[in-house]
C-alpha cells in the first residue's frame, strides 16, 4: 500500500466552481431561494413584536451539534422578534413520539410551529391537524408528504444536502490524488437528509473520478452510531488491505471511523464527512485522519426559519423553498468555518490542537 499523495487540481477547481451554488431542489421541485433574500424591515419587525406570538419547536431529535445550532439560531431570531418559545420537543427519531409531541404542544395553542418531520408519511396527519388549527408551520430540511407550501405551510428551509455530499466527494478526490479504493459508511434508514448526502457523494465519485472505486458500503442504524461505524470501518480495512479512504455520512459515525483507523494504525487513511462537529474539527485542525468535510450552516438556517415564520404573522409572501449552500472545510479554514457555522468562537480544544500556526 503506497500512501496517496494529497492534492488533485481538478477536484480543487470543481470545488471553486461550486462555491455559493445550491444543487438541491425543494420537496415539490421548487427552485431554491437564497437565505440572504429572506429579510425583514424594521417596520415589519415592530409589527411582528406587536403580535406577542408564541412558537413551539418540534424536533426529530435534539442530541447533536446540528440541532443545537438550529435551535440557537431560532432562539436568537425569535428573541429579536419578540416571539416567545413555549416548547422544544425531541422525538428521539421516533415518528410516533413526534405525533404525540405535536398533539401535546397543540394543547398550548402556539401561533407557530417550526419542525423537522422524523418521517414524511407517518407525521403528515398530525401536521395537517396543526395546520387546520391555524398554526403557521415552517419546516426544516424535510416536508410531510401531501402538504403544499403557501397552503398548508409557510416555507421549508434546508441545507443543501446533495451539495454537502458533492463537496465531500471532491475533498476525497483531492485527498487521494484522484485515485484509490474507498469505502462508504451510510445511514441505513429512510431519512431524506442522509440519503441525499449519499447520493451526492457517490454520484460525484462515479461521474467525475473514474480512478476512484467504491469497493465497500456499510450502513449504520444507531443508536450506537459510533460503535457500529467503528466495527464497519474495521471490517472494511480488514477485508480491503489497500483501502485509501472512507466517507462517513455525518460526524458521529465518522468518530467511530477515526477510532477504527487509530486502533489498527491506519494513519494514512483519508476520511471525509459532513457536519462540523467538535471532534472532527479537532481531527481536521490536527491533520489527523479527517482531510475535509462539507458543513451545513444550521445557525443561519434557524435564523432564516424564524424570519419566515415572522413573514406568515404579517402576511408577507414567503418563498416556498430556501436552501443554504454547503461549506467545504479543510485543515486550512477549519477555524474560520467554525465561526461561520456556529456564530461563536471555536472551542479551546479545537484551537489548541491546530497545528501549523494560527490563521
Amino acid at each position: 500500500r503506497t500512501a496517496p499523495q494529497r492534492g488533485y487540481p481538478p477536484a480543487q477547481q470543481a470545488l471553486a466552481a461550486l462555491a455559493g451554488k445550491v444543487l438541491a431542489t425543494g420537496p415539490n421541485g421548487e427552485p431554491p431561494a437564497s437565505a440572504e433574500s429572506v429579510t425583514l424591515t424594521p417596520a415589519e419587525i415592530e409589527q411582528v413584536k406587536a403580535k406577542k406570538a408564541t412558537a413551539a419547536i418540534v424536533m426529530h431529535y435534539t442530541g447533536d451539534g446540528w440541532t443545537d445550532a438550529q435551535i440557537a439560531g431560532l432562539r436568537q431570531e425569535f428573541g429579536a422578534l419578540g416571539i416567545r418559545i413555549i416548547a422544544v420537543t425531541d422525538a428521539n427519531f421516533e415518528p410516533d413520539k413526534q405525533v404525540s409531541d405535536i398533539e401535546t404542544v397543540l394543547a398550548r395553542k402556539p401561533d407557530i410551529i417550526v419542525s423537522i418531520p422524523a418521517d414524511p408519511v407517518a407525521t403528515a396527519g398530525a401536521y395537517k391537524q396543526a395546520a387546520a388549527a391555524g398554526v403557521k408551520l415552517v419546516f426544516m430540511d424535510n416536508v410531510p408528504s401531501g402538504m403544499v407550501a403557501g397552503r398548508d405551510y409557510v416555507s421549508a428551509v434546508s441545507a443543501d444536502n446533495v451539495g454537502n455530499g458533492v463537496v465531500a466527494a471532491h475533498l476525497m478526490a483531492d485527498a487521494l490524488g484522484g485515485r484509490g479504493d474507498i469505502g462508504v459508511v451510510f445511514h441505513e434508514a429512510d431519512f431524506q437528509v442522509t440519503r441525499q448526502r449519499l447520493q451526492g457523494f457517490e454520484q460525484t465519485i462515479q461521474r467525475d473520478y473514474p480512478n476512484i472505486h467504491i469497493v465497500d458500503r456499510k450502513g449504520v442504524t444507531g443508536p450506537d452510531f459510533a460503535g457500529q461505524a467503528q466495527a464497519a470501518a474495521t471490517a472494511m480495512m480488514v477485508k480491503h488491505q489497500n483501502l485509501a479512504g472512507i466517507w462517513g455520512v455525518w460526524d458521529v459515525p465518522t468518530e467511530g471511523i477515526i477510532a477504527a483507523a487509530r486502533a489498527i494504525d491506519r494513519h494514512d487513511l483519508a476520511i471525509t464527512t459532513e457536519d462540523l462537529g467538535p471532534n472532527v474539527a479537532i481531527a481536521l485542525a490536527s491533520n489527523q485522519f479527517v482531510t475535509g468535510l462539507g458543513a451545513q450552516r444550521p445557525f443561519d438556517q434557524g435564523v432564516t426559519e424564524a424570519k419566515l415564520a415572522a413573514y406568515s404573522l404579517i402576511g408577507k409572501q414567503a418563498p416556498p423553498y430556501v436552501a443554504l449552500d454547503a461549506l467545504p472545510v479543510t485543515h486550512a479554514n477549519v477555524l474560520d468555518a467554525w465561526r461561520e457555522v456556529y456564530h461563536s468562537d471555536p472551542p479551546a480544544q479545537v484551537t489548541e490542537s491546530f497545528v501549523g500556526g494560527r490563521q
Binding site: 405525533v99 401535546t104 397543540l106 398550548r108 418521517d119 408519511v121
Partner: protein, 317 residues
C-alpha cells in the same frame, strides 16, 4: 384471632398494592396545579394522554400475564413493527383492510408460536428467545420493506385502528378500555388467570395440583405476541403507514408499566389495572413535562426523579 389489617392475597410486598395509584394521583394533582394554565386540564389534552399511552397500555395487559407467569417477552416492540409493515403490504397488495388485519394477526401468531414453543418445549429462557426474536422480527420488517415506510391509504383500516374517533372518544381509548377490562377479569376472576399466577408462583406445585404449566407458559407467550401484532396495527392506523421502526424500544416501556403496576418480575403476582396506571403515569409525566416547556434532557431527569419519588412515597405509606 383474625386481624383487621386484611392484606389482599398474592401480596409479596404491600407497597405494590397502592404505590402506583397514590403516585398517579399525586403527580396528576401537581400537574393540574402548576400546568393548569398551560392547557394540561383541557379535555383535549387529557384525551391526548390516553391516546399517547394506549398502545403501551394494551401491550402491558398481555405482558402482565407473561410476567405473572415468571416469563418475559422482549420481542413485543419489534413484533408490532413487523405486523405494521406486513399489514400495510397486504393492504397495498389486496386493497382490502380485512386481509391486512389477518396478515398482521398472522405475524403475531407465528412469532407467538415460535417464542412459546422454544420456551415451553425446549425449556430455553424466555429472555434469550425473545431477545433473539426482537432482532429477527426487526430485521425482517426492515428487510422486506428495504427500510422504506409503507403508506396505508385504506381509510376503514386507519379509522378502526387508532386513527378514528367515536364521537368525542378516540378509538384508541376504546381499544384500551376493552383490553384492560378483558385482561383484568381473566387474570383475577377466571381459572386460567389463577393458574397463570400459580405457575408463576411455584411451577412444580402448580404441576402437582393439575395445572398444565406448559399450556399456561405457551399461551401467555402466544397471547403476548398476538396482542403486540394488534398494537402494531394500531401504530399503522394511527400513523397511516407501516414502518419497521414502529414499536422500537417499547418492550422496556411496557415492562416498566407492568412493574410500576405492582407485578413482580419474579412471577406469581400481577395486576392488570395496575399496569394500566403504570402506563398512564409514564404518559402523564411525558405530557406534563412537554407542556412545562422543558427540553429533552431536563424531561429525562425529572421523569426519572418523579418515578423514584412516586414509588418511594407510596412505599412509605
Amino acid at each position: 384471632m383474625s386481624d383487621t389489617t386484611l392484606v389482599r392475597p398474592r401480596t409479596t410486598i404491600d407497597w405494590r398494592q397502592y404505590a402506583i395509584y397514590i403516585g398517579f394521583v399525586v403527580v396528576f394533582v401537581l400537574f393540574a396545579i402548576f400546568l393548569g394554565s398551560d392547557g394540561f386540564l383541557t379535555s383535549a389534552n387529557l384525551l391526548n394522554i390516553f391516546r399517547q399511552t394506549a398502545i403501551i397500555s394494551i401491550m402491558a395487559v398481555a405482558m402482565t400475564f407473561v410476567i405473572a407467569a415468571a416469563q418475559i417477552d422482549l420481542s413485543v416492540g419489534s413484533t408490532a413493527g413487523l405486523s405494521s409493515v406486513v399489514a400495510a403490504l397486504a393492504i397495498a397488495g389486496t386493497g382490502n383492510a380485512l386481509f391486512g388485519v389477518l396478515a398482521g394477526l398472522g405475524v403475531g401468531l407465528a412469532i407467538g408460536i415460535i417464542n412459546g414453543g422454544l420456551v415451553t418445549f425446549l425449556g430455553m429462557p424466555s429472555f434469550l428467545v425473545t431477545l433473539a426474536m426482537l432482532g429477527i422480527a426487526f430485521g425482517l420488517a426492515q428487510f422486506i420493506t428495504s427500510s422504506a415506510p409503507q403508506p396505508i391509504l385504506n381509510d376503514t383500516f386507519n379509522a378502526i385502528f387508532g386513527g378514528g374517533n367515536l364521537g368525542p372518544i378516540p378509538g384508541l381509548l376504546i381499544w384500551t378500555v376493552v383490553a384492560v377490562a378483558v385482561g383484568a377479569v381473566v387474570l383475577a376472576k377466571t381459572r386460567y388467570g389463577r393458574q397463570v399466577l400459580a405457575t408463576g408462583g411455584n411451577r412444580v406445585a402448580a404441576e402437582y395440583s393439575g395445572v398444565n404449566t406448559k399450556r399456561i407458559t405457551f399461551t401467555v407467550m402466544l397471547v403476548s405476541s398476538v396482542v403486540a401484532s394488534i398494537a402494531g396495527m394500531l401504530y399503522a392506523g394511527r400513523l397511516e403507514s407501516g414502518r419497521y421502526q414502529w414499536g422500537t424500544g417499547d418492550e422496556l416501556s411496557v415492562i416498566a408499566a407492568v412493574i410500576l403496576g405492582g407485578t413482580s418480575l419474579f412471577g406469581g403476582a400481577g395486576s392488570v389495572i395496575g399496569a394500566l396506571f403504570g402506563s398512564l403515569l409514564i404518559g402523564l409525566i411525558n405530557n406534563g413535562l412537554i407542556l412545562a416547556g422543558l427540553d429533552n434532557s431536563q424531561q429525562q431527569i425529572i421523569r426519572g426523579l418523579i418515578i423514584i419519588v412516586a414509588v418511594a412515597l407510596a412505599r412509605k405509606k
